[in-house]
C-alpha cells in the first residue's frame, strides 16, 4: 500500500526519469491502479489508465517542481487521465465540478459485487451517500490524502473539499445512527 503523502518529497526520488519511474511504480503502482478503477469501474480501462499515468509521470518528471508530494502529483495525473478516459468512454462531456464526479465504482459495481457490498459494515453506507461525496471519502480515508492534497489533485478549493468531507461524515453518521450503529 502506498505511504502517506508528505510535503515536497521530490528529493527522495532519483532525478533520472527511468530510475524514478521504477520507484513510482513500486510505491504507487497499486494505489494508482485502484484509483483508476475507483473512478472508471472497469478493470481493463483502469489498467490502461494506470500505465498512461506512469508514462505521463516519466515524461514530466524533470519539469515537476515538487510543489506537492509525489503521491499527490501522481494522483492528480491519475484523476486527469480518468477524466480523459471517461470522455472517450461516455462520448459526452465530463461533469466539470472538479469534485462532482458522477461515477464511482461504488455506483457502478455489478450485481454480485452489490450483494457483497451489502454485507459490509461501512462501505454500504458510503455507497448510499450522494455520489459526489464518494470521491472525497476515497481520497481522504483510503488514500490518506489531506484536504490540501485533495484540493491540489482535484483542482477544487480546499474549503470546498473540507466542506464536502465534513458533510459526508455528518451524513454517514446519520445513516449509521438510523441503523443503530456507531463507530
Amino acid at each position: 500500500m502506498a505511504r502517506p503523502a508528505g510535503p515536497n518529497d521530490k528529493s527522495r526520488y532519483p532525478s533520472e526519469p527511468s530510475l524514478a519511474l521504477e520507484q513510482f511504480m513500486t510505491e504507487y503502482g497499486t494505489s494508482i491502479l485502484r484509483t483508476a478503477y475507483f473512478y472508471l469501474g472497469d478493470r481493463h480501462l483502469a489498467e490502461d489508465v494506470s500505465q498512461e499515468v506512469f508514462l505521463r509521470a516519466f515524461r514530466h518528471w524533470t519539469s515537476f517542481r515538487g510543489d506537492s508530494s509525489v503521491k499527490t502529483w501522481l494522483t492528480k495525473i491519475a484523476i486527469h487521465a480518468c477524466r480523459d478516459k471517461q470522455g472517450l468512454k461516455m462520448m459526452k462531456e465530463q461533469p466539470t465540478d472538479p469534485l462532482l464526479m458522477e461515477n464511482s465504482v461504488l455506483r457502478s459495481v455489478e450485481e454480485e459485487a452489490l450483494e457483497r457490498l451489502d454485507q459490509t459494515t461501512i462501505l454500504k453506507f458510503i455507497a448510499a451517500l450522494p455520489v459526489h461525496y464518494h470521491e472525497v471519502i476515497y481520497l481522504y480515508y483510503y488514500l490518506d490524502l489531506g484536504t490540501r492534497d485533495i484540493a491540489e489533485a482535484t483542482g477544487a478549493p480546499e474549503g470546498t473539499v473540507r466542506g464536502r468531507l465534513h458533510r459526508a461524515r455528518a451524513l454517514l453518521g446519520e445513516y449509521l445512527a438510523r441503523e443503530g450503529l456507531a463507530l
Binding site: 500500500m1 527511468s18 519511474l21 511504480m25 503502482g29 497499486t30 491502479l33 485502484r34 478503477y37 475507483f38 478493470r43 483502469a46 489498467e47 494506470s50 500505465q51 506512469f54 508514462l55 516519466f58 515524461r59 486527469h80 477524466r83 480523459d84 470522455g87 472517450l88 459526452k92 462531456e93 465530463q94 461533469p95 466539470t96 465540478d97 472538479p98 469534485l99 462532482l100 465504482v105 459485487a113 457483497r116 457490498l117 459494515t121 461501512i122 462501505l123 458510503i126 450522494p130 459526489h132 471519502i137 476515497y138 480515508y141 483510503y142 483542482g155 477544487a156 478549493p157 474549503g159 470546498t160 473540507r162 466542506g163 464536502r164 465534513h166 458533510r167 461524515r169 454517514l172 463507530l183
Partner: protein, 255 residues
Amino acid sequence: MTSQEDKLRDFVKSEADEMLFSNLHFDSHMCEKVKQRIQHEANLQEESPVRRTRMRSLRWFAGTTVAAIFIGLFLFLAEPDFSNSPGSPPLDQEPPVTLMDPDPPIDDPPVNYNNEPRILGSYEEAGQAFGDKLRVPSYLPEGYSLQQISVTGPNEAARAAVFSYTAGERSFGLFADKSANSSMPQHFDETVDVNGAAGYLIAGEPLQDDGLTTPNVELHWYTDDIHFMISGLVSAEEALRIARSMEPVKHINQR
C-alpha cells in the same frame, strides 16, 4: 486524529481492499508494459526526423493527388467557367492543409478533451473563455478575495470555470458549468430564491477547527442555463448574498 476517525479509516481501507480492490495489483507485467511503451516512444523519436520528412512528403503527395482528383471531378461536373470564377483557388497552390498534424509531437496525449484546467488571470479572460453567460459576484464576504481562476474546455468555448476565493485559512469555490448533464443535487436542505431562480442549499454542520467554528454550505442554481454552485466555508446567508450579487463579467469590468 480521533479514534472514531481511525476506526472509520480502518473500515474503509479493509472493506475496500476486500470488496472492491481484491486481486487488483500493479504487477510486474504491467510495469513491463509501461517500460515497453517508453521504449517504443524513444525508438519513434530517434527515427522521427527522417520519418517525419518522409511522411510529410508522402502525405503532401497523397493530399495533392486526392485534391487533384476532386478538383478534376468537380470541374468536370460543374459549370464550364466555374474554374475561372474569382473565388476559385489557383491550382498550383501550397500543399493542402490538414486539420490533424500528420506527426504530432509524442508528448501530446492521443485525444485531448481539454480536461486539464487552464489558469487564467482575470474575470475578463474568464469571460472570453467561457462566454457571455458567465456571471461573477459583485459581493464577497469580508476578508475574501479572488485567489485563482481555472477553466476547462476549448479556448473561447470553455465548459466550466472554477473561481477560488480565500480569506486566510477559509476558502470557497464558485463553479460555473455548461454541461448538459450537470444536474441539481437530489439531496438538499432548503430551496431558496436566487434572483427569481430556484436555489438548492445544502447546509453542513459548521466545522470545528482549533476552537473556531466555521460554517460550510453548498448552494446550486441555474442562471441562463448555466449551473452555478458555491461550495465551501461560508455561511448560508453569505452564500446567498454572493449568489444574488452575480452579474455578467462586462458589468463588473465597467466599474
